[in-house]
Every structure is written in C-alpha cells, then in structure tokens.
Symmetry: C2
Subunit: 222 residues, 2 copies
C-alpha cells in the first residue's frame, strides 16, 4: 500500500454494466440478455475501431450507435424512446456490492476514476450512486479525445494527477484495459470478477483478485 | 469500372476463414465450431488492441496467441503439435468459389492484395491456392507495422501502388475494414458474404454485394 494514487476504471470495475440487462429484458423479453451482452461488446469494439481510425466521438454517442447496430443485426425494432430510456439506464448502473465499503476504507488516499465515458455519463452515474465524494479527480478520455488503451489516454491521468506512471495503482476488471495500462507503465490490479483468463498480450497484472475487497485485504497485509 | 487499382482484402474476402473450423472439429469435436469462431474474433481484437497500445507484433504471432487464449478460456487443453497444425491450416485456407473466375475476368487490371497477414502467411496461402499470379502487388501491414484500420496502413497501399486513395477500389468482407478504408479515402466495396448489417461508424461503402461475382457483374454494366 504505497501508491501515490489509486485510479479506478468505471464500467465493469466499480459499476455492473450487466445490471442493464434487466432493463433490456423488460423491452426485449428473452432477447434482453443477449442484446445487453452484444451491446457492451460492440460499444468496446467501436471505441477501439474509432481510436485506430483516428475518428474519435464521445462514448455516449458510440454507446448509442452500438445499440443501433445490435438491434439492426438481430432484426429487433427499437424506437427512439426505448433507445433513450436504455441509454438513461447507463447513468444509473448499480455499483458492485463491495465498492462503497472499499472506498470508505481508502478515504485517506488519493483516489480517481478514469474512464472512456464522457462527463455527461460519468457525473450523473457517480452522483446517482453517491460515491462522487470519494474521488479527488474524475478523469475522462474525452478531455484528450483518445480512447483507452492509447498511451495518450493513460498519459492524461499522469498529467491530471501530477504523478509518474509507476506511482499509480490502476484497477480495472477489463483485461484489455489492464494490458494497456501495464504496457504504459502503471502498476495494475486486475479485478477478475468473472474468473476469466488474462488476454495473451505480453503483460501480467501486478495483482489479481475477484473483487476490490479481496484485493485490498491482501494489499493491507503487505 | 474506372479504377487505377483493385485492392483485395484476404481473410474472409478472398479466403474462407471458417474453412478452418473443419480442422478444429477434428481436434475439438463439438467445440470445434465455437473455437474457430472465437479464434477469429480474438485474432481481430488482438490486432486492434495492439494497434491502439502501440505494441505491434506480426499477425502470425497474434493468431497463435489468440488461439492460446481461446483454448485457455474454454478449458480445452491444446498441445504445441495441434497448435502448429492449426496454424498451418491458415496457410491452406480455401478461396471462395467465385474468386478465381473473377480474378481471371479482371486480369487486364492492376490488382493487389492488402492484408494484416505477414508475408510468411500470405505468400504460402496465395501460392497454395494458385492465385498469386493475378496480383501485381502483395502488400502486408507488416512492412509498416501498423495494423488496419490505421490510416498509416492504408497509406502504405497508396505508396506501394503510387496512386491516390480515390483511385483505388478496395474490396473487403470485413465491415470494420470497409469503415477504415472509406474513412481514409478509398472507394470501397463491401463483400457482405453473411448478409450482415453495416457497422454504425459514419461510413457507407460505395458498393455492397454478397460476393465478388455479383459485384463485378453490376460494375461491368456501368
């Protein structure tokens, strides 16, 4: 426990993205689960593709376009009203159960969130869950218009916090995010919530745990 | 039909990547199909992720690492011998049935292939299928170490052929590749072999057809 800053990814790490699948089930019945899963997959893919092409667009927009694609590809009609309602659900995701307990435990430390999400998504989300107060910085890639896992995105975190990469412990449930952050030089903790397998990308996270509580219980012992 | 060069993507466009699933079925029985599909998906994802991170590695290597990941994540053990045999199958993919007919039809035109594949994959593949003779240029991203859909990758095609982007008709079955190429400035034809839906990435291909023969039948009429 010797880091200058603890930087948390948001979607999938602090907040359960699949909590949105309940709402999808309301609208799409038995197709709800697969729509919510493909939506998330396509949302990420569009962030990678746009970053590679050099065609940045805010995350709220690509989240919407990903949903449009998924509904078209599954031949599921969707109205603008339903689309707006589902996008609104992104602002009210549920945090994982241990999140606030861990943030309280670390409240003497410098903590930030760092997300692909634009501020119009991040601020309402953190406010709704009542956890904004724990963070000294809310950092969005939208400020530099470079999606993770571009080195320019992670560099923005260092600039905002005024610390070196190796002084940061970066926590994410997304294996690709851990790969990018490790490659850039952050110390990394992979919150492996689904007991998945690490991607084969020449990087190994410094720590791996199934949830934040388990991780910090281990770190506190050191 | 007024282009200075016709540039073909390789995997999925000229060659059927899923023809590899037969071999996967030999080794993995009822899991063969899902392994071959996830393998392709992860192979592409790793090319995007490495491009975004700035951690280029040749396509042969990431193809191998994608297979390692898929087998680990599905808890399917794989020996080095089986891995090598499956990778060898990538060098002997089947071309789609209309490919040679169309290449013969265009034999007075300047034709090139342009692929994420490294030469150690492309040359044996084109030779095995007996179609190398139709192409004036075999162009690989490996020469510039920038994966599609980086603008630097498509720029390499222009440099090699000494033509402007808009003088090229680029043909690909991969919607993301069409998005990148269109965004760069190529004229594009999406060979929509699976009757899929175009990605929502602010680009529309100039032409869409279900196979190369259908496309060129239409183009010849103009």
């Amino acid at each position: 426990m010797n880091y200058k800053a603890y930087v948390f990814d948001v979607y999938g790490t602090l907040f359960d993205v699949y909590s949105i699948s309940e709402k999808c089930t309301v609208y799409f019945a038995d197709k709800g689960t697969v729509i919510s899963q493909l939506w998330r997959q396509k949302q990420l893919e569009y962030s990678f593709l746009r970053q590679v092409m050099g065609a940045y667009k805010p995350f709220y927009e690509i989240t919407k376009e990903a949903l449009q694609y998924v509904c078209r590809s599954l031949h599921v009609p969707i109205t603008n009203e339903i689309m707006e309602d589902l996008l609104q659900a992104y602002l009210k995701l549920s945090p994982f159960e241990e999140v606030e307990r861990v943030l309280q435990m670390l409240s003497n430390e410098t903590m930030a969130v760092f997300s692909n999400g634009s501020f119009d998504m991040l601020r309402p989300l953190l406010d709704h869950a009542g956890v904004a107060k724990y963070f000294t910085h809310i950092i969005s890639v939208d400020e530099v218009k470079q999606y993770k896992l571009s080195p320019l995105a992670y560099q923005h975190v260092c600039s905002q916090l005024n610390v070196k990469p190796e002084e940061i412990l970066f926590l994410s449930s997304n294996a690709w995010d851990i790969a990018g952050a490790s490659h850039f030089g952050f110390q990394t903790a992979w919150i492996n919530r689904t007991s998945g397998v690490m991607d084969v990308l020449d990087v190994t996270p410094n720590y791996t745990a199934n949830d934040l509580q388990t991780l910090f219980n281990e770190l506190m012992k050191k």
